[in-house]
């Protein structure tokens, strides 16, 4: 299931290993797991190793379960994958979804493991570009939300509070089935194949 070759428009992986060969005599570079800011089911961290269809299904399932917005975080080589995924989601939703994109630079730390007994472990800083795509349900007005005293204006990135409030809102207003947009109803064949 090597999807790297089928990725459309992906930039080639850089040839950093060639640079590493020069300083191989001193140490070995060990990459760490990149840090995550949020770790709940609405923040999806994209990897280019997973199957893109599985990722798409995962996003659709989350959106269909009543979540109004999801965040796709992608970094480095998987940025292309993230963009493809977001566009595919939006295209399949027939205008029900919109997106907003933020870019950022992540500061990563690599461990340099020594290769001889005299050296100690050292660290190296490295920057990597990252993309944060927010995909949200744009036709929020479809859902009739009654006026409540403790109703927040709009969901904010503070997720722990956010989720609780949407949950309570859902409890108080039983959703009508026809108002819930099912994004997976129309399955278009991806055109990029």
């Amino acid at each position: 299931m090597d999807n790297n070759s089928t990725e459309r428009g992906a930039k080639p992986r850089n040839n950093r290993h060639k640079q590493q060969q020069n300083n191989r005599a001193h140490h070995r570079v060990v990459r760490k797991v990149p840090p995550r800011v949020y770790n709940d089911n609405r923040n999806i961290y994209i990897t280019s190793k997973s199957d893109i269809k599985a990722q798409q299904k995962r996003c659709e399932d989350i959106l269909n379960s009543g979540v109004n917005e999801i965040y796709l975080h992608c970094m480095g080589f998987s940025i292309t994958r993230g963009l493809n995924l977001a566009l595919r989601l939006i295209k399949n939703s027939e205008g029900a979804l919109s997106y907003a994109i933020n870019t950022s630079t992540l500061r990563l730390v690599d461990e340099l493991h020594p290769l001889c007994d005299e050296d100690d472990i050292t660290f190296r800083h490295r920057n990597n570009s990252a993309l944060h795509i927010k995909i949200y349900n744009s036709n929020l007005f479809n859902i009739i939300v009654p006026k409540l005293p403790a109703q927040p204006a709009l969901p904010k990135p503070d997720h722990s509070e956010d989720r609780r409030q949407t949950y309570s809102a859902r409890q108080q207003t039983p959703r009508k089935p026809q108002q819930q947009k099912q994004f997976k109803t129309k399955k278009t064949k991806p055109t990029d194949k």
């Binding site: 299931m1 060990v30 990459r31 760490k32 797991v33 840090p35 995550r36 770790n39 190793k49 500061r107 730390v109 461990e111 493991h113 020594p114 290769l115 001889c116 007994d117 005299e118 050296d119 100690d120 472990i121 660290f123 800083h125 722990s160």
Partner: protein, 857 residues
């Protein structure tokens, strides 16, 4: 003599002569014989009835056969023995009642009796109620849960938290001069296998390291095992004495300790030969144990004068075996069963740990109510260290996965009793508190304070005191019963429970993103003092960690693309032998029409991987050490093999890559099919590759090649042997029947047929039959393993299964260097090999990747 009269006897039908007188002694002898036979008859009843059946009618009772007490007392023992022979358990000694067995005294006695053969872990009883227990390495260990948890355990290791009890690992404490230690370990390992034990990065004690151990000077052959070690942080700056803990797997522990004793020239202190000086001739003096310095001095002085006079001091019982060298500069202490070590795997182990370990807070006020325990007697410096550790741990456990921290970091911590940290119900641990905005994981990684690995756990006296002073679970429950007003709420007495030191050891998991998902298998190891095992274990379980057994070690290693025990280590050899015996036994338990005929399938060794013979066949030149093989552990060489595999370059030459070496590879089936242990790895031919391309075009999932079945030359001999054996048994039985009939003719009682006594015969036949079923052992013959079938074999699979991380069937195997060279010389697009299960004739293509971190877990 006497005159005889003839008289008529009607019964005999003729005249009988009767003597007029007889000698009294003849008469007495006859009477005696008669009495004897009467007594014998009375003692041994010839009746076929049972005892209770032979009683007169008026003495019989209902259900007499079941209740021996309804018989007259003198018949009871005979009745019981009769019942016991017939297999009727009613007469066998009754199992005592449950109430009796459950009395604490009797329960404890029973537990101690059962622990005599195998050592129990502290969590044994908890595990025994929920897990299948197996005897392994002198311990009784949990194998796998009785529930179906195979997939759940994988999920726990990948996304949640899997916890395993690895207290069976044997800790060995070495104490001595650092140069001496490094020189000794340099003999046991090689610099090619990675950093040595005295590397600077480990010596400060802030990281746990691991080394490959070999027999003294035998590298690269004679591998013992991989052992992890940690140095005690420097306590006394002036002395160059350092302490080291070596964690050994119990399978090779005895061999490794023997090797260590030999290398460092140590002597057991159980038997000491002490010199007998003139003053100490009286027995009272002898009983006193002289201090070490005295002995040394007197030894030196006495050896010159009276070299032969000494007395032997023997310790009757040694809890921890202790060895020391001649001048006392180096000591070895086997700290078996004095620690509990739990292994937590998975990213959620952060939350589990953060919830179950709370750092002890030392209060500044020194009032009289302050509980008196070891932590309250610290000086200001130690307090500062304690605070730093607590703060660091709190922020480190807030991170998302353990692999964001410094790899193999050791972290000491003094925690409150884990019983106080339990939730009311078993819950999945959530995030304790959100990370503050300012803290960054990079800071935690790079600016770690130097005092982190300091721990009181290194102190032996303290460990003993902790164990003795621990509030037992029973006492704790009783106290709670007495004091707790609201169930589940904390009590006042819990403030005074003693804190305990633990060591947390980080495991980074996968560190090669190209080989396996980054950080798979990351987690923590907790080392806690003895007696606190169950308490800590239950807290971890209550916070939602999933318990795993021995099976999970194998699955986690296989998912990570590695193997726990390499086939050339002590543990690997033993494991392969037991697995082969199991498979063989299982094969012959099957009925013959369900056994696959390995001779027809052209499989030489169906139950074990004959690496020695494989290496022998791939060797160009033959010498006496042809069967020796070893696993390649040199990282730089593996790196070069990996790059040449990926870029289709030439492998390093045979001088660097000796013919006896095996390379660990991860195989991945490209299309359909499954793999099992002992599958063979073969070189594809050009026709196979062409056929694969054709199949790809037609989307054909069939196997790429089928081994043509060989004729089985043993089929006829097997049939003949079976028929001959049956005939023989029948003839023997006929002989016994005839014998019985003959006896029956002359006897008035019923004669039973003689017992067959053909067990030896049957066993011999079975062995012969097994020999005819199986192909010849490759070790016993000179038949080629390499050319056993139509494709050339160059490796064997040792563990295989469906891999959840890769979503295909994956396997870990070993291939020979010569085979790899030939594979690369073919000039394929990407190196592919053929694999075939031992019980199948289908070859399928699989890709192969070289593992750089051999024996990582």
């Amino acid at each position: 003599m006497s005159n005889q009269k003839l008289e008529y006897d009607a019964a005999l039908g003729g005249r009988v002569t009767l003597p007029t007188h007889i000698p009294t002694y003849h008469y007495a002898a006859g009477a005696l014989r008669e009495i004897k036979s009467l007594i014998a008859d009375a003692q041994q009843t010839r009746s076929t009835k049972l005892i209770f059946q032979s009683l007169p009618k008026h003495m019989r009772r209902r259900a007499m056969s079941h209740h021996p007490k309804r018989l007259p007392r003198k018949y009871r023992s005979a009745h019981k023995s009769q019942m016991g022979k017939s297999g009727n358990t009613a007469a066998i000694k009754k199992r005592p009642s449950r109430k009796y067995r459950r009395r604490p005294k009797n329960l404890m006695r029973e537990y101690l009796r059962r622990q005599r053969r195998h050592i129990w872990l502290e969590t044994h009883i908890w595990h025994a109620k929920r897990f299948h227990m197996v005897d392994r390495w002198g311990y009784k260990l949990p194998y796998a849960s009785c529930d179906k948890t195979y997939r759940a355990c994988y999920r726990a290791s990948a996304q949640h938290c899997l916890v395993q009890d690895i207290s069976f690992y044997c800790c060995v404490e070495l104490q001595g001069n650092i140069d001496l230690l490094c020189a000794g370990f340099a003999r046991l390992t090689s610099s090619e296998c990675g950093l040595s034990i005295g590397a600077k990065t480990y010596l400060s004690g802030r990281r746990e390291g691991s080394i490959e151990l070999f027999r003294d000077g035998k590298y690269p052959a004679g591998a013992l095992q991989r052992a992890s070690f940690m140095w005690r942080p420097i306590t006394d700056v002036n002395s160059d004495k350092r302490t080291l803990w070596l964690w050994l797997h119990p399978c090779g522990a005895t061999t490794t300790i023997e090797e260590l004793v030999q290398v460092f020239d140590l002597k057991s202190t159980k038997h000491k030969k002490l010199p007998l000086s003139g003053e100490k001739l009286s027995t009272e003096d002898n009983k006193e144990q002289p201090t070490k310095e005295e002995t040394k001095e007197s030894k030196q002085s006495n050896t010159k004068e009276q070299p032969l006079r000494f007395w032997t001091q023997t310790k009757a019982f040694e809890l921890n075996r202790h060895y020391a060298n001649a001048d006392g500069t180096l000591e070895l202490l086997v700290l078996k069963n004095s620690f509990n070590r739990f292994r937590l795997t998975g990213p959620r182990s952060q939350e589990v740990l953060a919830n179950s370990l709370r750092a002890y807070q030392i209060r500044e006020t020194t009032n009289s109510n302050e509980p008196d325990h070891w932590l309250s007697q610290l000086d200001s410096e130690q307090r500062r260290i304690h605070e730093t550790q607590a703060n660091y741990c709190r922020s480190a456990l807030r991170l998302n996965t353990p692999s964001e921290l410094l790899s193999n970091m050791v972290l000491g911590l003094n925690i409150v009793d884990p019983r106080l940290q339990r939730p009311i119900k078993r819950t999945k641990a959530g995030v304790v508190e959100a990370a503050p905005k300012g803290s960054k994981p990079a800071q935690l990684l790079m600016d770690a304070p130097a005092c982190l690995p300091t721990s009181a756990l290194w102190d032996k006296e303290l460990r003993e005191r902790l164990g003795n002073k621990m509030l037992s679970i029973h006492d704790y429950c009783q106290l709670r019963q007495k004091h707790a007003v609201v169930p589940g709420m904390p009590c006042a007495f819990e403030q005074s429970m003693q804190p305990l030191p633990v060591l947390l050891v980080q495991r980074p998991g996968s560190q090669q993103p190209r080989y396996k998902r980054l950080g798979y298998g990351c987690g923590w190891d907790i080392i806690a003092p003895a007696r606190y095992g169950l308490v800590l274990w239950l807290t971890l379980i209550m916070w939602g960690a999933r318990p795993g057994g021995l099976r999970e070690f194998d699955t986690v290693a296989r998912e990570a693309g590695a193997e726990l025990h390499l086939p050339d280590t002590v543990a690997g050899v033993e494991q392969a032998a037991t697995a082969a015996a199991d498979r063989r036994a299982r094969y012959f338990r099957l009925p013959p029409n369900k056994r696959c005929n390995y001779r027809k399938y052209a499989v030489v060794s169906p139950f074990s991987a004959p690496f020695g013979q494989l290496v022998r066949d791939w060797r160009q030149e033959t010498d006496d050490s042809a069967n020796q093989f070893f696993v390649l552990r040199q990282r730089d060489l593996l790196q070069r093999i990996d790059t040449s595999l990926r870029r289709k370059q030439k492998l390093p030459g045979p001088k660097e890559l000796p013919a006896g070496c095996l390379v660990q590879v991860q195989l991945r089936l490209l299309r359909r099919g499954s793999l099992h242990e002992n599958a063979i790895i073969c070189l594809p031919t050009r026709a196979d590759l062409k056929r694969r391309l054709k199949q790809l075009k037609r989307d054909d999932q069939a196997p790429v090649y089928c081994e043509p079945p060989l004729p089985d030359l043993n089929e006829r001999p097997r049939r003949d042997l079976r028929l001959a054996h049956k005939r023989l048994l029948k003839r023997l039985r006929g002989r016994r029947v005839r014998e019985k009939r003959k006896l029956q003719e002359t006897s008035t009682q019923r004669v039973h047929i003689r017992a067959a006594n053909t067990a030896a015969l049957v066993r011999e036949h079975f062995a012969e039959m097994c020999r005819l079923w199986l192909p010849m052992e490759p070790a016993a013959t000179t038949n080629s393993v390499r050319r056993q079938c139509t494709r050339e074999v160059f490796g064997y699979v040792t563990s295989a299964s469906f891999s959840f991380t890769e979503a295909t069937v994956c396997a870990v195997g070993y291939v020979t260097a010569g085979g790899l060279r030939q594979l690369l010389s073919d000039g394929q697009q990407s190196p592919l090999c053929l694999v075939r299960d031992p019980d199948s004739r289908d070859y399928r293509f699989s890709s192969l990747k070289v593992n750089l971190d051999v024996s990582m877990p």
